[in-house]
Symmetry: C2
Subunit: 208 residues, 2 copies
């Protein structure tokens, strides 16, 4: 960053550090720094401590691979969850969305990414071994639902996982269905989603 | 914050700390936290260190009251600046804007706020004594330009400062002019600015 202002180095360093966060431009970063220094030194100290604590204490749950303060996270150690179904998601945020929807009460596995050969992210980088071991050694698991995104990379990841996990004949592998979002009007659906809704159409009975 | 997700405490604490920054909603804060934890632990450490350093090392310049790493900041200690003119601004951001415009080469005094009786911010809270002492003891100063904002509170502050500083007859007090922004079309100017442009109109000669 070329600093066009005459500002103290430590202030500029903090602006740059905040500017590194996703979605924070230089202007917002500078506004935040002045806000903290002028009006919220307590907030600055809270943020500083929160960063140190998160860095020091957050580990990966050995079962689901998501962030946790314990070796086994709250979801994985909850006896009320259905331990016969394992849902594979790309990120903790995806898990959060499913959790808040309350439609799923099984267990998760968080990939922490997706296959992306162009970025050099393959099965090794995502530590698929860990997931495969989990699926094959946990005798409770009867079904694995692959809930990666319906993007090119998410689909590639889903195909790959489906192939390697289906070697284990004791587990049913499934994938979330594609189609028209609930509450949508056909008129406004993109043609790609519409095509998939036709291809993956379900047989149904119209009651008379 | 009610946490609708099952997330580790240290992660939630960090989300909340970022959420406290101006302009950062809960959703953006959470996105930042996952970004840092998943892809940019180095960025997390840099931010954490930058916060600690800023908190520990940034002090107020004893001359201009702005943030500085030294007792006297770079601008105040620069011998090339015109030390006969002192420009009073509300915030370091205002100073930055003037600096980057390069129209002013004098010295500054940063109020770090504005008079705001409703919020309990009076001359004492803004430490006007320090400014008055500065203006009266620095024999180089010939003119003080009041560049507080043209808002109700900025105007109140300007009037108050003008009154107390003009007791010193050796100093010329001035205020930035109000009017129509350069490059603007009359059609689109708010009526308030237009009214001021009439009231503060300047005599001029039209060359034939
Ligand atoms: Zn877990
Ligand atoms: Zn200074």
């Amino acid at each position: 960053m070329k600093n066009k202002f005459v500002e103290p180095d430590y202030l500029v360093d903090l602006v740059q550090a905040l500017n590194r966060l996703p979605g924070i431009g230089l202007k917002s970063a500078r506004r935040m720094v002045y806000h903290l220094l002028q009006y919220d030194i307590e907030g600055l100290e809270i943020l500083s401590k929160a960063l140190i604590n998160a860095n020091k204490n957050l580990i990966r749950c050995i079962k689901c691979n998501s962030f946790s303060c314990q070796q086994i996270c709250q979801i994985c150690s909850n006896p009320d969850r259905d331990n016969t179904i394992l849902c594979i998601v790309e990120t903790p945020s995806d898990m959060n969305v499913l959790e808040s929807s309350k439609i799923f009460n099984g267990l998760y596995y968080v990939l922490m990414g997706k296959l992306s050969p162009l970025d050099g992210i393959g099965p090794k980088e995502l530590n698929f071994e860990h997931l495969i071991e989990r699926a094959n050694t946990d005798k409770n698991i009867l079904e694995v639902i692959i809930a990666t995104n319906f993007t090119a990379e998410g689909e590639t990841t889903a195909h790959y996982l489906s192939d390697i996990l289906s070697i284990n004949k004791n587990i049913q592998i499934s994938r979330l269905s594609r189609g028209i979002p609930s509450g949508s009007e056909i008129e406004y659906i993109d043609s790609n989603s519409l095509a998939w809704a036709f291809i993956e159409r379900k047989k149904t009975k119209i009651s008379k």
